[in-house]
Amino acid sequence: MPYFDHCATTPIHPDVLEKMYTVSKNHFGNPSSTHSSGRKSRAIIEKARNQIASAINASPSEIIFTGGGSEANNMVLWTLTQTEKKHVITSAIEHPAVLKVLNHLEPLGITYSIIPVNSHGRVNADNLKNLIQSDTGLISIMMANNEVGSIQPIISLIETAKSVGIPFHSDTVQVLGKIALSVQEVEAHYMSFSAHKLYGPKGVGFLYKRKDAPLHPLVIGGGQENNLRAGTENVPGIAGMGEAVRLASENLTKRKEHLENLESTFITQLNQECNKVIINGCPNHHLPGVISASFPGNRSDILLAKLEREDMEVSSGSACGSGSIQPSAILEAIGIPEEQNISTIRISFGRENTEEDVIRLAKTLGSITRG
């Protein structure tokens, strides 16, 4: 079944699977043990740490393994409850793993301001300046959005934060493996990552934390991860993530070009098939292969079900369980009217998609929306 929902998650890369299998089969030791089995496991996770650090030009000590991107976000935000400055600035199109956390932390004394985004889904650095208060302790703005793919002017946002000495966090879960990312260029204090968005395993991620940035642990217990994340490490998961990040880094140009080609083929075909389609987001600054498309007059849930009948998987809004057709909050924030909002689907291509796949997707969308 052709899968076009790579922003939700990705199929595991065969080399990653191989790595995880080998590690699971041969190396069961606890990385905290001092004997040979333990040391071997420890070496495996340190190798992964090195692979990851080198992929983003960080130093290995700046990489903290977590149970995924949401946990990494939480660690950064919860840290504010223990530091002096309690005010956070964030954007209107953050993932719930930022916005809901801030909401949850309000009774614990955290306050926050939300920067609006323009119709392209981008934040204006000047607006950021206006929201800075004397007690602002963190600015948290995602680098690229998961629903419309818009990429923020992250360098100028960080410049602004830097000029007033406020730590900057960015949820970069959607970025790695799609566009180049180096902490030498993007000088954030913290960045959150997840392995399963780049053909790695689920349930594992990492936080990049610059050496001088404060951080308090969420999970307390053993001394793992330099006392910042207790619990015996997910050794095969971390090894798989290391491999996934290495592959993403080595093949970045190839993957990026592939996604760009698929996107342009798809958009060309789609415009031939559907005359009423609207492409949302930012035409100049967006993740390759991530397309938010509205089909006015067609409810997204019906579109999804009909595509599934043709064996094609896409998504609408954010993924949810016993879900509904609540308008997407992110599309609302970028000013999309409700009727268009509920007729919007997200298509996100990946490395295993082919030109034929995306042409067939465009043609199928055409025949469904023509009725």
Partner: protein, 360 residues
């Protein structure tokens, strides 16, 4: 390609077996989980559990599962009516309205939009086509028959619906589920009003939506014998929760709600289950609906139920207009309840029904 039929799946055993049977018959089956209520955490959790059960069943059978949220339609079309009726001191039956407004309207239209030819649900009832008319028949399991809840359906809905388990006994439905490895084969049947859950929460629930006005409880002779918390909390024939012991009065017999005097906000009670004030032989009903689309030509051998699972009671319609009817029973009926439905039958066939308005 096989005809597409969409099953409304609740996570319960009945709708799951419905999907299974249709799949075995060779249809292209897809399932839809409906969410009709946005509630507090408790009802949210229950819906999440039901969704997980539906997901397990669909995964086991290899069927696609979609979700749809009709909570706005439910609120506007069912819940408002429910609250309005209670505010008038009546006892509504939201399930019959839910079937008309949600399952056989919003859901049916949604399924048709998805390209289905028909929908199917796990109701214990049957549909039979004869002489170009679709008839609604009782489920063969007399103990589970749910035609009472379906009397507001019309020809259009029946022509596009299917009730595969209507021919099967509940016990066999569970056996089929177990033999086919469905994980919910022994799941408890749902009871009570779907958005409230257990009956014990009923009072707290109503309190949130309708202001309650306490008043007196009086015997049929006008003697004050207690206080009530608000007429809406009581229904005709109710025995429990009156707060007056059987010892009050001459006999030891329990007390029952006989009537509500809305003008004086009084609850009228009578002592003993067989008290004549609890029985009426005639009622007037409105919102008359006939499944065939118009008044049946032949109304001989008519019977009716004035509540779900009641045995059929012989009766005749003594007066009828487009919207209203007067019904006389062969025998006096216990606790005829305004707001509930009277549903008419000729043997196994459900002809239609009406909303009970007053008793005579």
């Amino acid at each position: 390609m096989a005809e597409t039929i969409i099953v409304g799946i609740s996570g319960g055993v009945d709708s799951s077996v419905t999907a299974l049977l249709l799949q075995k018959q060779g249809y292209n089956v897809e399932c839809i989980f409906m969410k009709n209520w946005e509630g507090d955490d408790d009802s949210q959790c229950a819906a999440e559990e039901d969704y997980k059960d539906a997901l397990s069943v669909c995964d086991h059978l290899g069927l696609p599962l979609h979700s749809v949220n009709f909570s706005k339609e439910y609120w506007d079309g069912v819940f408002q009516y429910f609250i309005d009726e209670y505010a008038k001191g009546r006892t509504p039956n939201p399930d019959v309205i839910c079937n008309r407004e949600i399952k056989f309207k919003a859901f049916l239209n949604y399924a048709l939009e998805l390209g289905a030819k028909k929908i199917a649900t796990g109701h214990y009832a049957r549909i039979e086509k004869s002489n170009g008319q679709f008839k609604l028949l009782k489920g063969l399991d007399q103990n589970k028959d749910q035609s009472y809840f379906l009397y507001l359906l019309g020809q259009d809905a029946l022509s596009k619906s299917s009730f595969p388990i209507g021919k099967i006994d509940k016990i066999n439905v569970r056996t089929i589920a177990r033999d086919s490895g469905l994980s919910n084969h022994s799941k408890k049947d749902s009871t009570g009003v779907c958005f409230i859950g257990e009956q014990k929460f009923f009072k707290d629930f109503l309190k949130k939506y309708i202001p309650s006005e306490p008043g007196t409880i009086e015997t049929i002779n006008g003697q004050v014998c207690g206080q009530h918390d608000g007429l809406m909390y009581y229904t005709m024939g109710q025995r429990k929760g009156l707060g007056i012991g059987g010892g009050y009065g001459k006999k030891e017999a329990p007390w029952f709600v006989a009537d509500k005097d809305l003008s004086r906000n009084s609850l009228i009670v009578a002592q003993g289950h067989d008290h004549p004030a609890l029985f009426h032989q005639e009622l007037k009903a409105n919102q008359v609906h006939w499944i065939g689309g118009s008044l049946p030509k032949k109304l001989s051998g008519l019977s009716a139920k004035i509540r779900y699972r009641q045995a059929d009671q012989n009766c005749e319609i003594t007066h009828i207009t487009q919207d209203r009817c007067t019904v006389k029973f062969d025998h006096p009926q216990f606790a005829i309840t305004p707001g509930q439905s009277i549903v008419f039958y000729q043997n196994d066939e459900c002809l239609g029904g009406a909303m009970i308005d007053v008793r005579n």
